[in-house]
Symmetry: C2
């Protein structure tokens, strides 16, 4: 095959997504959870896998990620970013190129979605046996999230439109796996000038906490010269 020639045959392109959200059991600290689907066919029938599907010839990659996500789990993420394209020949018996996305989901949206057959939520630190190399892919997605939280506002993808600094700090703590100093955390986030204080407070057991919302019209993460991909299905 030469450079300018056409390939003899096409290759099947799969799109799948690691959807991360926060989940809390009772009053404990939240944990990162993600939905997996049980495979019904070989290869790896019976094993759990990232939700996804085949790329249709009439749609873009990000659109396909959002579509297959909705079809398999009924979920609509608040943040979606391409993770990596995998294409080793030994990943599957028949040749497949797999473009993987990672997504963040608001806690409330995860609860609101109807439970679906063959879809289960797993704690990211306690995963079942996974199909293909999906275990490593999830590791990579979590690594990317931990990294990105350090220099962007992605953590807000876990939160509702209005939230307290304690909410935000809790999300950071869950992602990073360590406690953060509330005083320093406050100063650091408002040094970024990306949070807009509202006049509302969350009243609870103690001193009320001011609610913030994120600056609108600003992407949660800087993707450089690449504009965020279109994810509308229309």
């Amino acid at each position: 095959m030469t450079r300018s020639g056409q390939p003899e045959e096409g290759i099947r392109v799969a799109v799948s997504t690691a959807i991360l959200t926060l989940r809390r059991d009772g009053a404990q600290a939240p944990r990162i959870a993600l939905p997996l689907v049980r495979r019904t066919r070989d290869p790896h029938a019976g094993a759990w896998a990232l939700p996804g599907g085949w790329l249709d010839t009439r749609e873009g990659l990000a659109t396909a990620a959002a579509r297959t996500l909705a079809e398999t789990t009924g979920l609509a993420p608040s943040y979606l970013e391409q993770l990596y394209a995998f294409g080793a020949v030994d990943r599957s018996p028949s040749r497949v190129v797999s473009v993987v996305y990672w997504a963040l989901l608001r806690e409330e949206d995860a609860l609101g979605a109807a439970a679906q057959e063959n879809v289960h939520w797993f704690d990211a630190t306690d995963l079942p046996e996974l199909a293909f190399d999906h275990a490593r892919i999830i590791e990579y997605a979590l690594w990317r999230l931990r990294n990105k939280v350090g220099y962007s506002r992605v953590a807000q993808g876990f939160l509702p439109p209005e939230f307290t600094l304690a909410d935000l700090r809790e999300a950071y703590e869950t992602i990073l796996g360590r406690k953060l100093d509330p005083a320093n955390f406050r100063r650091q986030v408002d040094a970024t000038r990306t949070l807009i204080p509202t006049n509302a407070f969350r009243t609870g057991n103690h001193r009320p906490a001011r609610l913030y919302r994120d600056a609108t019209d600003v992407e949660l993460a800087d993707r450089g010269p690449l504009s965020p991909e279109e994810t509308r299905t229309s």
Copy 2:
């Protein structure tokens, strides 16, 4: 099409690479240059494009990137990393998914390669009219390089195995587009403990400069849980 169903048809997968190297005209400061190939067919016949080719069904993505690179330009990069997978429907009349890599090439290797027909080198800041969205892709590759140079040793991908700190600093300065303080630069790089001083010096016009080599068996850039892809063609 349902999740578990097979796609009706395969999709052609293209692999192309933005190959960056340093190039100097006379005694001036070096600039980033990259090779482009002139397209001989539609779409965009006559326009310049990133070197690449079609993914063969029997090879991995990174292998295909290295192979098509060698076939179209005769070059073998010192560093190769996946950049992004593009798949918007309107990129090409017929549906194509394009997996783009970016690579670094040692200055010497660029000069050593025989000049090939339809391959020309361009200054990264002075590009011709490019096919598809390749102009934006090159912007993205340069952005990634600028970013990565801040927290990794990728810049050494431009340099021969042994180099002086001035060589390395010059590479950084070219990538970042600004002068760096030699004194501070020295301290910063040896704080990373990744450079091994040799007993050799480069003797020239002034005080001889010690030659360094990079710590072997260490990847130039941290890619997280993803092990570097195999690029051997065998």
